[in-house]
């Protein structure tokens, strides 16, 4: 459905939508103007902890090779520490740094231009597939490639195909091998298969992925095991466990962001004249939060505050808790849904959707209001097919019917 057809906000007048946009602008401005040394200390502290965990984990694995008594516990502790370090690096540090959340510090290392993260996907490709494609076209079918990552049917508006019967299996594979799935995400295999990809760009991207993937494999499965000498096999297993733990965790967190009940999907018709306030609304209605303590939020890269992250992707993640209080108050004030629940429930709903949508729509009932638009093709779009936002072409858009009447 298009943003202007969403019943959750059509009760608002154009003036109210505009006022909501102004209030969100004010939240942004307040945080921007109050960024300070405490925020800088936060990200520096997280990086210090992450590097300490990574070094400690590697050392524990090494030590396990030379101590019979403490061998196994040290190995398990090492794998756990390395797993947590990888989770922190990918989620709270890498993802947020690459959004430019910490660019204002003018730090030579902690900057969106320079950060290269500990996962197989090259940072440059992540900044295109995630920062641009996903954040600009959030939950717009055919444009946001994060809707099912090109292999899962995640919306009833997407046409069913017999290949979807295997969704539970594809989902399990995607979860276990998540970093490699993400590595191929921006390559867009579907367009390569159809011969629609620029061969020069495909080659450039493939080389980037091969180089990055090779370095990741060398680091975790050759160099560090080799340093463990005779215990190379246990170090290799521990490293693999850390990587799989990171894969499963990031998969769960990411799938809780847009697939629980209440997070809406949209179609492309209204993108052409979407205004800033409508863009805000689409981000709010297409995202879902989860509840938890501070540790859970840090380990999930602050994506428990997915709504706030989509509204303000370049504001420092440590400020999301205070922003969330204000955004939730605005949702109450304007009677807009604020989708939130415990992590297990949010993921349970996403998993149920994956399983239900593996069969045709008629076999299952919808957990969301039925979209007014008919089924549409689910192929991925190229950059050329993604529309630019042209607000000068139209004013505030309400429903198609209202616009025709006007």
């Amino acid at each position: 459905m298009a943003i202007s057809d969403v019943t959750e906000y059509t009760h608002l007048s154009a003036e109210e939508v505009e006022q909501l946009g102004r209030e969100l602008d004010a939240i942004r401005q307040e945080v921007e103007e109050s960024r300070n040394a405490e925020d800088a200390a936060y990200i520096n502290r997280i990086i210090k902890v992450q590097r300490g965990l990574a070094a400690g984990g590697r050392l524990a694995m090494l030590a396990s090779a030379y101590s019979r008594r403490a061998g196994k516990p040290a190995l398990v502790a090492g794998a756990a520490m390395l797993g947590v370090a990888k989770i922190l690096e990918n989620m709270e540090i890498g993802h947020n740094v690459m959004h430019g959340q910490w660019d204002w510090m003018n730090d030579p290392e902690i900057h969106s231009s320079n950060w290269e993260w500990d996962t197989a996907q090259p940072a440059e490709q992540w900044k295109h597939s995630h920062n641009y494609v996903h954040h600009q076209f959030t939950n717009v079918l055919g444009h946001d490639n994060d809707i099912g990552y090109g292999i899962l049917r995640m919306a009833r508006e997407q046409k069913w195909h017999p290949v979807n019967l295997g969704q539970p299996v594809y989902n399990a594979l995607l979860a276990a091998l998540f970093q490699w799935g993400v590595a191929l995400h921006d390559l867009d295999i579907e367009r390569i298969r159809k011969g629609e990809k620029d061969p020069q760009e495909m080659k450039r991207q493939l080389l980037q992925i091969l180089r990055k993937g090779r370095n990741q494999v060398l680091k975790d499965y050759v160099v560090h095991p080799a340093l463990s000498g005779p215990a190379w096999r246990s170090t290799l297993t521990a490293n693999m466990s850390a990587n799989v733990a990171r894969n499963l965790w990031s998969y769960v967190i990411i799938f809780c962001g847009h697939f629980p009940d209440g997070a809406l999907h949209f179609t492309e018709e209204e993108l052409e004249d979407e205004t800033r306030a409508e863009w805000y609304l689409r981000q709010m209605l297409g995202s879902a939060n989860f509840e938890g303590g501070r540790t859970l939020h840090v380990l999930s890269g602050s994506l428990g505050y997915q709504i706030e992250h989509h509204l303000f992707p370049d504001l420092p993640s440590n400020r999301y808790p205070e922003i969330a209080v204000k955004v939730r108050a605005l949702c109450d004030k304007y009677d807009i849904p604020y989708t939130i629940g415990p992590l297990h429930r949010q993921y349970g709903q996403a998993l149920r959707t994956i399983i239900k949508l593996s069969v045709p729509n008629g076999w299952t009932s919808s957990d969301q209001p039925e979209p007014p638009t008919p089924s549409r093709d689910r192929r991925r779009r190229s950059d050329a097919e993604r529309p630019s936002r042209r607000p000068e072409l139209g004013g505030w858009s309400r429903s198609l019917r209202e616009r025709s009447a006007g």
């Binding site: 505009e18 921007e32 430019g100 900057h111 969106s112 231009s113 320079n114 940072a123 950059d383 000068e392």
Partner: protein
Amino acid sequence: MDAAPRSFDALPLDPELEVPVPFAAGTDVGYGDRAPGTVLSVRDLDHRRVTQCALSRTCGVCGAGLGRPLAFLGSRRDADRLAFRFPACHVGCALALLASYADVTEPVLGLDTAPGEWQVVTTASFEFVRPGTDDVDRRPTFQPHGLLSTTVL
């Protein structure tokens, strides 16, 4: 990512003004705002590419990932109000573009003034501000958070 980055020397030329067409102005016909059958032009920016550059953190001139510091190119007015229309670029790309446009005497790339009056400023960070309904100019702006340096030719 569909369009591969190009080095400054490999940028296509505007057939009318014979100056390099930067990534943000649309370097490929049949892509973004440059519909099939049209010609490349530096008269205006490609809206889709501008958004792509802003969010993907790529250079508005060559299309490759940005470096540090970030350079913005614009009129004196843009610099004074800290709101630029042209996306962030590499410092080298911005200066090369400025030099190659030195003989152009009319406003291009969607800027209000001719290249002779442009400035290059550097910064560490920026905010991408989408236009609101009240804005007279309905194009997004890049608003740096403070300047590190200013270069005037």
